[in-house]
């Protein structure tokens, strides 16, 4: 099995990805995660302006048979949420790295991203599960 793991992203063991764009970043869940969850039916999003520390839950994503907390790859303040997901949570299945992004944040401390996996390590990690 192989999953799409874009090289420019960093990944958590809990399958969230982080796309650093200077002082802001985009967060979503990986291709592997969306496939494991299967048809996503609901997502709970945080409020814009909410702040979360690294590793804290900022929302949940649900399929018919599973629910999963969404964790912050790095600490920060939410500056945008993908409102489209409220009506079309399936965008996460069809385009986890594109239209299925979940939140954008103002990054607190970019150094917190240092312990995240790079694409190669994450791909190997997925293959091992």
């Amino acid at each position: 099995m192989s999953w799409n793991t874009p090289a420019e992203l960093k990944y958590m063991r809990s399958d969230e990805y982080l796309k650093l764009e200077g002082e802001t970043a985009t967060i979503g869940i990986s291709d592997y995660a969306q496939e494991q969850l299967n048809d996503i039916v609901f997502i709970e999003l945080p409020d814009v302006g909410a702040e979360f520390a690294k590793g804290k839950s900022f929302g949940t994503v649900e399929s018919v048979k599973a629910a999963s907390d969404l964790l912050m790859p790095v600490g920060g303040k939410v500056i945008a949420v993908n409102d489209k997901l409220k009506d079309q949570p399936e965008l996460i299945n069809s385009s986890p790295y594109g239209d299925g992004w979940i939140i954008k944040i103002q990054v607190g401390d970019a150094a917190e991203a240092n312990d995240l996996m790079d694409a190669a390590a994450y791909a190997a990690y997925c293959a091992s599960r």
Partner: protein, 450 residues
């Protein structure tokens, strides 16, 4: 051996298929010193003897089939159409499991869906779940929803003191492990607190305000200002309701409730010394995903036929485990079915009619009682079928006299509200005939005043 069908021959065949000689061999893994303990219990009894013993115990109780019952206080004696019990005794319903396998459980699932629909109609809310254990635990679960809605940032819960005292106890039992502040019902004279007093307690830490409609004393209070104040503080307002009253009175939905809970027992469920009953739970649409318990939704099967299935399952304990907000994994399935059949049989017109009969008879009873010297029905506020009577003697004394005349009197409020010593809570339903009411009044006259 009662319900064990095995013959000696079959037992032997089974043991040899397993490859052991005796049934005892199957228990080698149990530490030998604890294995096969002595049981200090009586021997088996035939079905006939057991039935006789249970009948004798049943006969030792003073119950509503033998006595005229004027007691309510959270459990009410209403007429249950005969067909309700016949449906409940269908083995296909009562010996079925939770409908996890929808293809084999469409009967249970559709009945729950219809129950949910009727509860929405009755309460004026958008969605109802498949039920909780009883009215009290529904209220305890409502607290959790309110906390979740506040994202666990608020911790103050305001309870109107005229909510059933046992419900308020249960709420505290459920939440003793969390740092919540329960206020509103803790003062020296809780029976005097009003909705206006509760408004003063609302602040930005308040997650929820709960009221009862009609309240524990039977009165219908005006909650409009309280609802408004609760909402402007960003908290949820929860109504604990008697579903029979909703056949007549404005729905909590109309009155602004965010969550409606209550005891479904009046809807076709016998008194049964306190259970099993039916906790109903209905909410506005935006809170559907926050509620615990079973919920049935409509969908289609792979051929496009209408089908029903338990939905929003990832909220539940078997999937979310330690992140679930409740551990509940049953509903009161058969009791929800009872309510569903009852509401179908009574229907739009029957339920209203039964409620009107109870209303008229209760008002008649209150007037007649107030005519007796020394007694006064405290009915300044509108009420449905229950009211407080101030008595000239201890309630216990009056009830002892009533029972001699075949009447189970009202509930002694002094047990829960020390300042309401010598106050009796009287309930009247369509089951109390005029003759019963008149006899009740006659006994009060005979007992006399001070």
């Amino acid at each position: 051996m009662s319900y064990i069908p095995h013959t000696d021959v079959e037992r032997q065949q089974m043991l040899s298929a397993i490859g052991v000689t005796t049934i005892e061999d199957l228990f080698d893994a149990v530490p030998s010193r604890y294995r096969f303990p002595r049981l200090n219990m009586p021997p088996a009894m035939s079905e006939m003897e057991a039935a006789q013993e249970l009948q004798a115990l049943a006969d030792a109780n003073e119950h509503a089939a033998d006595y005229a019952l004027f007691r309510g206080a959270g459990a009410y004696h209403h007429y249950i159409p005969a067909a309700v019990n016949h449906i409940l005794l269908r083995g296909e319903f009562y010996t079925a499991y939770t409908p996890y396998q929808p293809e084999m459980s469409q009967g249970t699932l559709q009945a729950i869906f219809e129950y949910q629909s009727m509860l929405c109609a009755l309460t004026g809310m958008d969605a109802a779940n498949a039920s909780h254990y009883d009215g009290a635990t529904s209220l305890a679960e409502a607290v959790t929803v309110a906390l979740e809605v506040s994202r666990r940032k608020r911790s103050k819960i305001i309870l109107h003191p005229a909510i059933h005292p046992q419900y308020r106890e249960v709420v505290r039992t459920y939440h003793q492990g969390s740092d919540l502040q329960f206020v509103g019902d803790t003062g020296k004279s809780p029976e005097k607190m009003t909705a206006a007093d509760l408004i003063k307690l609302i602040d930005d830490q308040t997650a929820m305000v709960a009221v009862q409609y009609p309240n524990f004393f039977g009165s219908i209070e005006d909650f409009s200002a309280l609802v408004e104040a609760t909402h402007s503080a960003g908290a949820l307002i929860v109504f604990v309701v008697n579903p029979m009253a909703l056949a007549l009175f404005q729905t909590p939905g109309q009155l602004g409730a965010d969550i409606v809970v209550g005891e479904g027992q009046p809807l076709g469920i016998p008194l049964s010394y306190g259970g099993p009953y039916l906790g109903f739970f209905a909410v506005r649409e935006e809170y559907v995903r926050k509620i615990a318990g079973r919920i049935v939704g409509e969908t289609i099967d792979h051929d496009g036929r209408r089908a029903f299935v338990m939905t929003l399952r990832p909220r539940e304990q078997d999937i979310r485990r330690d992140k679930a907000t409740s551990n509940i994994c049953t509903n009161q399935g058969l009791m929800a079915l009872a309510a569903c059949v009852y509401l179908s049989m009574m229907g739009k017109n029957g339920l209203r009619r039964a409620a009107e009969i109870a209303y008229h008879r209760a008002h008649y009873a209150a007037k007649q009682i107030s005519k007796v010297k020394g007694y006064k029905a405290l009915t300044t506020k509108p009420f449905f079928n229950e009211f407080v009577v101030k008595c000239p003697k201890p309630v216990e004394t009056i009830n002892q006299a009533l029972i001699q005349r075949g009447i189970i009197g009202g509930y002694d409020l002094g047990k829960d509200y020390p300042r309401l010593k010598d106050h009796m809570l009287v309930a009247v339903t369509e089951m109390n005939s005029k003759i019963e009411i008149d006899t009740f009044v006659d006994v009060l006259k005979d007992i006399g005043g001070v």
